[in-house]
């Protein structure tokens, strides 16, 4: 007979009392800290993530309970899933056991006294232990770069290990104490029990109680520790996933944002509550850092660090300010006030302007000190980080929000200033007259239709680079030639076209983006067309996701999609079949952002080419480094290898592949330069899909 664990005496006090005291203390500590953290999050600016609850729940079901993104890396997917599920089972059972322990008069058994439950507990204990060992080995011997190897993480692994072992051995000792022998409900315990057969029943019973206390104390202390450790992600990430961004990735509009958001955020309180929640949800796994092209190049940017530093800064300054404000406004300090102006002002009063906090010391500037400007500008907005993040954090909009602040303060490097001035004045980043935009059409035999004057089926929005860069004009003409050869009904906006504003928005000049969009929409509203086709994926992204025409989104396709369809319909008068092995680079704004992967590949195989994939392809494509305005910016000194160079080397390493095929004008520019600087000139040619199609049209 095993006594109720709470019946024992500990240090002269009845176990029940001890349990009550510790439970209250633990839950209290946990609750207090969690409440304060929630209070910080609620100080953020509003953002509407409360729509479509059913869709959100499904999203959670997939990404919290099945966690496909964790499986994206070697060996850790299954272990983590098991640890997670084990945790779920144990949480339920622990609470059950705790309630029973706190209220001994309740006529319910302890969970491990119920055979089927004991089966699950034992089974998961073993699986979780296996998972923990895998995780520990990975962390110690095979640690992927940027995995944060903290004492905190190691402590957690050990802690959970102790919990599982205590549960497992508790079950084993129970078998010994009860002398019940093997049972199909406890296969592992049954195998371990004989090793302890020599124990007297009384001792075994005592050990069962002991294991119960070890386990219970372990969980209670874990609970109290949780909100101070990275394991907070347990609680925060399901909410983070629930409140994920359901809008298209390529749309930077913040739903339900306050007006001031356009001017950026200089303080953590000026970010939205969702952005603040993200910090608490980060599990410090480093997947984002491993994916980031800027980090790989040796830029100072590490997306994980941006999130983590923001979190630490928020907690340090937020809790300090709340403490100082406590005597004056206890309600505000406890974060009980709704997270809008009143709370923000209360904090602002306790922490005047940018320098004061309640402690009288200087509060570090979020932008500049906590997160240096070079990091903020290093981002190419490629979204590789967000593609991998298992808790669905949103690093890119955060960076853009910081950039908006820097732009609003005029703290932009000279090159970017010049570009923005050119865009403002001439509607293109080259500083050439807007009247010259369609100059590339001059050598064409037949001039394309003017979509401003007559209706067309396809409105071809050419984009800055394809229109103005002398090195790319020829490719643009080829594209026009292909459209004409296929008998496509298309037209241009000629001088009416302006930069679509994608990179302007990502550089943080929201006002200029709005102005460009206004001007483009004015012209588009007057034109009559069915579909917009673009050469440039950046243009594609902005027009598709951030423009609304007649209250609806525009129908936008990329030229590769059009050519793919034309080929399938037999409307491309190909004269010869091409041959050879090529590889295709998925542009960030076409692939990862907008999911167009197959059309270009079908087109290539349709031409007769053999497409070989690079290790980093499709949604794992590696950015060329031009996005986010980086093509306008100075290189940061001391970079190891530019993203474009890394990519070109990756392509050149494929056996038998002589051509790197791209479908973005900026990629041509970046990769052709990279081929020169990496010395792969003889081995790798960089060609646009249009050039290849054009080739195939010639006899």
């Amino acid at each position: 007979m095993i006594h109720d664990p709470v019946a024992v005496s500990m240090l002269g006090m009845p176990g029940l009392a001890v349990l009550w005291v510790l439970t209250v203390a633990s839950f209290g500590a946990f609750g207090w800290r969690a409440w304060r953290l929630v209070g910080l999050v609620r100080q953020g600016r509003p953002e509407d993530r409360f729509d479509q609850p059913a869709r959100r729940l499904l999203h959670v079901a997939k990404h919290v309970f099945l966690q496909p993104r964790i499986f994206g890396e070697r060996a850790i997917g299954l272990p983590h899933l098991l640890i997670f599920w084990g945790f779920c089972v144990y949480v339920v059972c622990f609470n059950w056991g705790l309630v029973r322990g706190l209220f001994p008069l309740l006529p319910i058994p302890y969970p491990d006294e119920v055979a089927p439950v004991a089966f699950f507990l034992e089974g998961f204990a073993v699986l979780v232990l296996a998972g923990l060992v895998t995780a520990a080995v990975r962390r110690t011997f095979f640690a992927p770069p940027h995995l944060h190897l903290s004492a905190d993480a190691n402590a957690i692994l050990a802690w959970i290990g102790v919990l599982m072992l205590s549960s497992l051995f508790g079950g084993t000792f129970r078998i010994v104490a009860e002398g019940a022998g093997a049972s199909p409900w406890t296969p592992v315990g049954s195998r371990l029990a004989p090793a302890f057969a020599g124990l007297a029943p009384g001792t075994a019973g005592g050990l069962v109680q002991g294991m119960w206390w070890v386990h219970t104390l372990g969980v209670l202390s874990f609970l109290a520790y949780l909100p101070f450790s990275k394991h907070l992600h347990l609680l925060a990430s399901p909410f983070n996933v629930y409140f994920s961004n359901l809008r298209p990735l390529g749309d930077l509009t913040i739903a339900g944002a306050s007006e001031e958001s356009a001017a950026g955020s200089a303080r953590w309180e000026e970010l939205t509550w969702k952005q603040l929640l993200g910090g608490l949800s980060c599990a410090e796994c480093g997947r984002c850092d491993r994916a980031c092209p800027a980090a790989a190049a040796g830029f100072p940017l590490l997306p994980q660090q941006v999130i983590q530093r923001l979190k630490k800064h928020m907690i340090e300054t937020g809790l300090a300010a709340a403490k100082a404000a406590a005597p004056a406004a206890p309600a505000a300090a406890a974060g009980l006030v709704a997270a809008t102006a009143p709370a923000a002002t209360a904090v602002a009063e306790a922490a005047p302007a940018k320098t004061g906090d309640g402690n009288g010391g200087a509060r570090p500037a979020l932008i500049g000190e906590v997160i240096p400007e070079t990091e903020i500008w290093a981002c190419t907005t490629c979204m590789a980080c967000m593609e991998r993040c298992a808790v669905w954090n949103e690093q890119v909009p955060l960076v853009v929000q910081f950039r908006r602040h820097l732009v609003s303060e005029g703290q932009v490097e000279k090159n970017v200033q010049d570009m923005l001035a050119n865009l403002t004045r001439y509607g293109n980043s080259f500083g050439k007259s807007d009247r010259m935009r369609a100059k590339w059409t001059q050598p064409l035999g037949v001039k394309p239709k003017d979509a401003r004057k007559e209706p067309v089926e396809y409105l071809w929005f050419v984009g800055d680079y394809a229109s103005y860069d002398p090195r790319l004009e020829e490719i643009t003409r080829m594209t026009a030639g292909i459209f004409q050869a296929a008998g496509l009904d298309f037209g241009l906006l000629y001088e009416g076209e302006r930069n679509a504003g994608n990179d302007v928005r990502r550089v943080g000049e929201e006002g200029l983006f709005e102005m460009l969009r206004e001007k483009n929409l004015q012209v588009l509203d007057k034109a009559r067309f069915q579909t917009v086709v673009t050469t440039d994926p950046h243009t594609y992204n902005a027009l598709k996701n951030e423009y609304r025409h007649d209250g609806e989104s525009l129908r936008v396709v990329h030229y590769t999609e059009v050519l793919d369809r034309l080929l399938a319909e037999g409307r491309l008068p190909l004269r010869k079949r091409l041959s050879g092995r090529v590889t295709y680079h998925d542009p960030c704004y076409l692939g990862r952002y907008n999911g167009v992967y197959d059309a270009p590949r079908r087109l290539l195989t349709g031409l007769g080419l053999e497409v070989v994939e690079m290790p980093r392809s499709k949604n794992r494509s590696f950015c060329c480094g031009a996005g986010g305005g980086r093509i306008w910016m100075e290189d940061v000194p001391g970079i190891k290898e530019r993203p474009a160079e890394s990519r070109v080397r990756e392509a050149a390493a494929l056996p038998g592949v002589t051509t790197l095929v791209v479908s973005c004008p900026k990629d041509i520019a970046m990769f052709r330069d990279a081929v020169k600087t990496t010395g792969t000139e003889g081995t790798l040619a960089v060609r646009d899909l249009a050039e290849l199609v054009w080739d195939a049209l010639q006899a």
Partner: protein
Amino acid sequence: MNLFVLLKTAPDTVEELTVAADEKSLDAEWLRYKLSDSDEHALEQALLLKEKHGGQVTVVALDAPEMDDALFTALAKGADRAVKLAGEVGTGRSASAARLLAGFLKGAGGALPADTLILLRGQAIDDLEGEIGPFLADQLGLPYVSVVTGVAVEGADVTAMKEFSGGLRGEFTMPTPAILGIQSAEKPPRYVPIAKVRAAAKSSKIETVDVPTPEAPARYEVEKLYRPVVAGRAQMLEGTPDEVADRLAALLAEQSLI
């Protein structure tokens, strides 16, 4: 400090410039106007001086195409007042422009406060009559230094760094009030986001001041304007980079340069 910045827009040379039928003016159809780099630097220098020494920056300009935008941008950057002078002045008529501006600057009191600095561009691309600075200096009886790349104010004096050539510079000192023709400010002109310019256009006002048309008859008339006949063009070498490099190397060898 009492700072004035005098702005002027001139035809934007990004566009192709053509001569009108009368052969005495530019064809206005596609003509666009913008501030010169020098104007932007003058404004920037004034704002820097205000940040350092306090005071107020007033931007003054003659009414001209695209000037409103320039004035609102100046206000968004931090200027305190923007004034537009409505009065007829022909293109390139620096003498007349100087009289108009002098009339406004002297104001009702007829004299400028002691800590006044007037900053403006050096030479504009259409200043056939000469840069406006010396005319203005004459009208106001103030000292003037041009091609300034650095300004330091100490008490009642201002020291200006003037650029000669070959990187050589000279330091000149004069008492304020004074006029400086700015080539470049100590820092590149700051950026101001469109949102702020639009906000300025909505919330701030440009004061318009009517001034009488001044007496400054032109001393000559332009006989005609015309586009230059490009006498020679470079002999263009065609081919692949390799071919071109070959030709160039041969060329250099011919000239005994290798």
